[in-house]
């Protein structure tokens, strides 16, 4: 069905995209990923049943092709428009159905929770994907610290709203501020990351600095950027995209090549840097780690 099974790395000469120095760096990251895989299967990119290679995308590609509608709907315009965005001081309010509500300064989060590298695939609902070496910590660690009460069933995230710094917020076609949500057990899964960095450095503004969510088995828009509020709730939170287009974007939005979507077929994708398309994997290749969350659920109904 697909043009070929030849690894895309053989079709696309990587040296065209990577300088030698970047190449060595990328090679190092893959090595680290393999090491990580050996001791923590959850963080592995190796467990994927994919025959095509998962090579991290270049920092150049990752930081110049961004969906961050608060700045612009033009993926190339986000980087320049977000250049002067102020990420200090930055507070994150954790509240709702928790025993220890608390507002954290970003510095506290960086100090309190050790940052680890996680190399994840990111699958955009627009049918392109990347491999990204994030830095961050499991959301579960933060949630454990604030102690959700027994009534808490969902986690709601809210992004920063600063129209004077974010020109895209002037668009009347969205229900700002950007909000997202997860079920509590999804939020507690070890794969769910609060990312603070990229390629070993702090997150650049266009990637959601200083704090963003990364949920690698869901379409990219679930991974909300510029988080200022995290609240535990007993009702399913409203999310920006399911409000804008309820038939198209459900609350779950798990990467799923099998469920025929009202509008999009999601059976294939293009990895940024590749020429040929590749098949999209169930749960973006993280089936082993997350499929149990949806046991007995009709994923066509809960899309």
């Amino acid at each position: 069905m697909f043009r070929s099974n030849i690894p895309s790395s053989e079709i696309t000469p990587k040296h065209v995209y990577l300088s030698r120095r970047d190449f060595m760096k990328a090679a190092g990251v893959v090595g680290a990923g393999a090491l990580l895989a050996a001791c923590a299967p959850n963080a592995a990119t190796e467990t994927a049943p994919s025959v095509l290679p998962d090579v991290p995308n270049t920092l150049e590609d990752i930081t110049n092709y961004n969906n961050y509608y608060e700045f612009s709907t033009d993926k190339e315009a986000v980087a320049p428009l977000s250049k002067n965005f102020q990420t200090r001081p930055w507070d994150v309010e954790v509240s709702g159905l928790v025993n220890n509500p608390k507002t954290y300064a970003i510095e506290d989060l960086l100090k309190k929770f050790p940052q680890e590298e996680r190399i994840y695939r990111l699958r955009c609902v627009e049918a392109w994907s990347m491999v990204i070496p994030w830095m961050g910590f499991s959301l579960a660690k933060l949630l454990t610290e604030v102690e959700p009460t027994s009534d808490a069933k969902f986690v709601r995230f809210e992004a920063v709203y600063r129209p004077e710094e974010m020109p895209g917020l002037k668009s009347p076609f969205y229900d700002w501020p950007y909000q997202e949500g997860l079920r509590l057990d999804e939020a507690m899964n070890d794969l769910t990351l609060l990312a603070t960095g990229l390629y070993g450095n702090l997150l650049p503004n266009q990637s959601g600095a200083p704090l963003r969510l990364v949920v690698p088995w869901k379409y990219g828009f679930k991974s909300i950027k510029g988080i200022v509020k995290i609240a535990l709730t007993d009702t399913q939170p409203k999310t920006l995209w399911s409000t804008a287009s309820p038939n198209e974007y459900g609350f779950y939005s798990n990467v799923n090549p099998n469920v025929s979507h009202p509008r999009w077929s999601q059976s294939s994708e293009r990895r940024i840097g590749d020429l040929a398309r590749r098949p999209t994997l169930m749960f973006n290749g993280y089936e082993e780690q997350v499929a149990y969350l949806y046991d007995g659920m009709d994923l066509a109904k809960y899309y």
Partner: protein
């Protein structure tokens, strides 16, 4: 004899190549973004829709300002629109989907926005083929009827554009600003074609043109 080109003709024939020139320039300067195939797809699509709309603007320009030359340029604009639509489709089938026809067919029927886009393209083909004078003679009255299907094709193209974006076009939610602008322009161009509106504009124009002399011959 050297053929003289009018300024409008020059503008059209130079302007129509600018999107391709820009893509070639970007290809050499690394400006095709991290997702070059999608970039070229979207750029040629937008060029096609823009040129199609310019061809549809010819008649309204004539009824608004009595400017006749655009009527003679419709064919060039329409054919350039078809050229970009063809490039757009070839990039989709060849570069994007690698001529994997089973996957292409699956995609066409699973994604309504591609279905309406494909329909619009197929409907444009007979218009492009019959755009030459010989067909105008052969088809007689039917030629006009055939070419009036563009009133059906243009909304399909807007729908293709709108549905291809994230959001709900008819609820004015999501990334719909550009398709909305094109949609409103199309509505305006169509309204200006309604015979009653055209007659009104024509009479308004004649009233404007020769008011002073006829009403006040003394001057």
């Amino acid at each position: 004899m050297i053929k003289r080109y009018t300024p409008l003709q020059l503008l059209i024939h130079i302007g129509a190549w600018i999107p391709i020139a820009r893509l070639v320039f970007e290809a050499f300067t690394g400006g095709l973004t991290a997702n070059p195939i999608q970039h070229i797809e979207q750029r040629t699509g937008r060029a096609a829709i823009t040129l199609l709309f310019l061809s549809l603007a010819a008649t309204p320009l004539n009824s608004l300002f009595g400017w006749k030359e655009p009527l003679q340029r419709r064919r060039a604009l329409g054919l350039y629109a078809f050229m970009y639509a063809t490039i757009h489709v070839i990039i989709f089938t060849d570069l994007d989907y690698g001529l994997a026809w089973s996957l292409i067919l699956e995609t066409v029927f699973q994604k309504p926005y591609i279905l309406v886009g494909a329909a619009a393209f197929l409907l444009l083909i007979p218009l492009a083929i019959t755009s030459f004078d010989i067909w105008k003679v052969r088809l007689k009255k039917n030629w006009k009827r055939l070419h009036q299907t563009v009133y059906f094709i243009a909304p399909l193209v807007v729908l293709h554009y709108a549905w291809g974006k994230k959001g709900t076009f008819f609820a004015l939610q999501g990334d719909i600003l550009l398709p909305l602008i094109y949609g409103l322009i199309l509505v305006l161009l169509m309204v200006l074609r309604i015979p009653a509106v055209r007659r009104f504009l024509a009479s308004a124009r004649t009233r404007w043109r020769r008011p002073v002399n006829s009403r006040n011959p003394a001057i």
